[in-house]
Amino acid sequence: MQKLQRVSLYVDEGAIREGVERAAKALAPDVVRIRFNLGEDWTGDDSIFFKIVVSDKAGRQVMNSDLNWRVKAALRREIEPEELGLIDYFNFRSVSELAQMNEKDWD
């Protein structure tokens, strides 16, 4: 259990991780993996930030596919962030983009 900055909010990270894994599996092969972290958004509201790694092929087609919305729908179905009092945010990067960066949060 992780205690967020807001005292009243406790989130079971293990349960979230399991839901994220299920969503990632369902979205393969377009989605390679999904990570997340908990924090606050720019207004100070408790939030969950999903980091979605997509295949290079899916990354090239991002403007012409419904992957963006399919990912959001799948994660919302599995995690139900609004029921946890969390606002959900989604970031997408491709495998080859990540290979050029050194960002442990996304590994």
């Binding site: 720019w42 991002v62 403007m63 919305w69 139900e80």
Partner: protein, 166 residues
């Protein structure tokens, strides 16, 4: 609605600039511009409801980012709960309106957060896919809005963007 459309086109352009190595400035401006495209689309649609056209520009200036986010987030919560309670076998017109409205409000909240990071957090590195994805979110919100803009639920949402919490 011309300004909103122009901004969206500009966001597309910025997200695709520099074919091999995109500059951070281009990607940041693409994300920020995508947000402002949707921001101005919603405001321009809201003020159209004001009968006296000479007042619309002043009225448009009264909209606030924070209030619009709060109204959108509230609407998003309501729609997600309704979606969960809805019979999955239903595929009616109401479900379709909710689906498109959820796209608009959800993408607005997300774009505003990303715009804040893109404009103010210089430690954040953006990638092309991230920028294209945010521009795509704005485009999708535009498309959905065109489908539902005259629906009562969409008009109620526009009205809520103006209301301050008391």
């Amino acid at each position: 609605m011309a300004l909103a459309d122009d901004l969206l086109e500009q966001a597309h352009h910025l997200a695709r600039r520099e074919k091999s190595k995109p500059r951070q400035a281009s990607l940041r401006r693409a994300i920020s511009t995508a947000y402002y495209a949707l921001f101005h689309l919603l405001i321009s649609e809201a003020v159209l409801n004001w009968k006296r056209s000479e007042h619309r520009f002043d009225l448009a200036r009264s909209f606030e980012h924070g209030q619009m986010r709060a109204a959108s987030e509230l609407q998003k919560k309501v729609l997600l709960r309704q979606q969960k309670m809805a019979d999955p076998k239903l595929d009616g017109e109401d479900l379709s309106i909710d689906y498109h409205l959820l796209k608009v409000v959800s993408n607005f909240v997300e774009l505003q957060q990303q715009r804040h990071l893109a404009d103010y957090d210089n430690s954040r590195v953006w990638t092309r896919v991230e920028a294209l994805n945010e521009v795509h979110s704005a485009s999708e919100a535009f498309r959905s809005w065109q489908i539902i803009r005259n629906e009562p639920a969409a008009q109620d949402y526009l009205f809520s963007l103006m209301l301050k919490k008391r």
